[in-house]
C-alpha cells in the first residue's frame, strides 16, 4: 500500500524506517472507483494526494461549459489543487478517477506535522515543487509556441503508456486541440512510419 510512496520519498531524501512508519500514520488510504471524484469544483481541497495505483484527470469547466484538462496523474505522481489546499479557498478544479485508484491522502494539518517532525520532508516537497514548476513552464511554453503535432509528440514522450489508459478525446482536451485534429496528427505520424 505504501511501496511506491516509500520509493519516491527515498529516491529524494534519506529517512529512517521509524520516520517512514510515522509518515504512514499521517496518510489516509483511499480507494476510488472509476469516474468517482476526489475533488469537485466549489469544494475546498483538503488533501494533497499521492497516487499508488491508477490514474486521474484534473480539469476545469469554462463559462461555456467546455472541459479543459490541466493534468493527468499516474502512479508515483502527486495531485491536488495547491491554491485551494494552501489557502483554504474553493477550488475551480475537478479531479476524477480515470481507473480504479489506490491513493494516499494527507490533510493540511497532517502535512504540517510531517514537515515539523521530519524536517527532511521540507526538502522533499521543495524538490517536488521545483519539478512541478519546471513541467508547468515547459507546458506553458509549449502551449504558446509548439505546433499541434509537436505538442502531441512531447506528450507521448512525457507520458509513456498513456495512450492505452486515457481516452483520445481527453488527450485532445489536454493538448488544447480537437479530437479530429488529434486523429489527423496520429494518422500523419503513422503514415510517416514515425509512430511510437
Amino acid at each position: 500500500m505504501y511501496e511506491l510512496l516509500y520509493k519516491k520519498i527515498t529516491d529524494t531524501i534519506s529517512i529512517t524506517n521509524d520516520e517512514f512508519e510515522f509518515c504512514k500514520t499521517l496518510f489516509i488510504p483511499k480507494k476510488l472507483r472509476k469516474r468517482q471524484y476526489l475533488l469537485q469544483e466549489g469544494d475546498i481541497c483538503k488533501y494533497t494526494v499521492f497516487v499508488e495505483k491508477g490514474s486521474l484527470r484534473s480539469y476545469i469547466i469554462n463559462s461555456k461549459g467546455s472541459e479543459h484538462i490541466l493534468q493527468f496523474s499516474f502512479e508515483g505522481w502527486w495531485v491536488s489543487d495547491l491554491g485551494s489546499f494552501l489557502n483554504g479557498t474553493p477550488s475551480k478544479f475537478n479531479i476524477e478517477a480515470l481507473e480504479e485508484c489506490e491513493l494516499l491522502l494527507v490533510s493540511r494539518p497532517s502535512w504540517e506535522l510531517l514537515l515539523q517532525k521530519i524536517p527532511a520532508f521540507e526538502k522533499f516537497f521543495r524538490i517536488l515543487t521545483q519539478k512541478n514548476l519546471i513541467v508547468t513552464q515547459k507546458r506553458l511554453m509549449g502551449n504558446m509556441s509548439e505546433t499541434a503535432e509537436e505538442k502531441y509528440r512531447n506528450f507521448i514522450n512525457d507520458h509513456p503508456g498513456c495512450m492505452q489508459r486515457v481516452p483520445q478525446h481527453m488527450i485532445a482536451s489536454y493538448l488544447g486541440i480537437t479530437k479530429e485534429t488529434l486523429s489527423r496528427i496520429r494518422r500523419h505520424i503513422a503514415e510517416k512510419g514515425k509512430d511510437d
Partner: protein, 136 residues
C-alpha cells in the same frame, strides 16, 4: 456541488444496519453496508432506494476493501466483535473517523485496536454526516 462521501457501515444485524442507513437518507453520500451474509440486506437496499435519490447504498462482504473506499466508518457491533473488526480494517482506517455507536462499546479499547484512526463514540445513531466528519 460537493462530492459524495462514502461511509462504511459495519453492524452485527440487518436491523442495526437499517437504523444507521435510515439516518442518511437525506444526505448526499454512498453507504456501503457490510456483513458476512446478505440475508436481510436486499430489503434495506430497496427501502433506501425508494426513500432517497441522494444516498446510494450497496451491500459488501469484504470489510477491508469497503473501509478502504470509505471516508468514515460506523460500527454497531458487540464488544466481543470489536477486536476482530478492528484487525480487519486497521490497515485502511488510518486517519479515518471510526464511530462505534454500540451500547457496549469500550471506546478506549477500540482506540487501542485502531491507534491511528480517529475513534469516536456516540450515544445515538448519527443524525448527519457532519456528526462524523465535523473535524475534517
Amino acid at each position: 456541488m460537493g462530492m459524495n462521501k462514502t461511509i462504511a457501515v459495519i453492524a452485527s444485524s440487518p436491523e442495526k444496519a437499517s437504523a444507521i442507513a435510515d439516518t442518511f437518507v437525506n444526505e448526499k453520500c454512498n453507504l456501503l453496508l457490510l456483513a458476512k451474509e446478505r440475508d436481510g440486506y436486499d430489503k434495506i437496499l430497496a427501502d433506501i432506494k425508494k426513500k432517497s435519490k441522494s444516498c446510494k447504498t450497496e451491500f459488501h462482504d469484504c470489510m477491508k476493501d469497503s473501509c478502504w473506499e470509505a471516508d468514515a466508518i460506523i460500527m454497531d457491533v458487540k464488544m466481543e466483535e470489536e477486536e476482530d473488526v478492528a484487525t480487519a480494517i486497521k490497515e485502511v482506517a488510518t486517519q479515518k473517523v471510526v464511530v462505534n455507536i454500540g451500547r457496549e462499546c469500550d471506546y478506549k479499547k477500540l482506540q487501542q485496536y485502531l491507534p491511528f484512526s480517529r475513534v469516536k463514540t456516540l450515544s445515538r445513531v448519527p443524525v448527519s454526516f457532519k456528526d462524523i466528519i465535523n473535524d475534517e
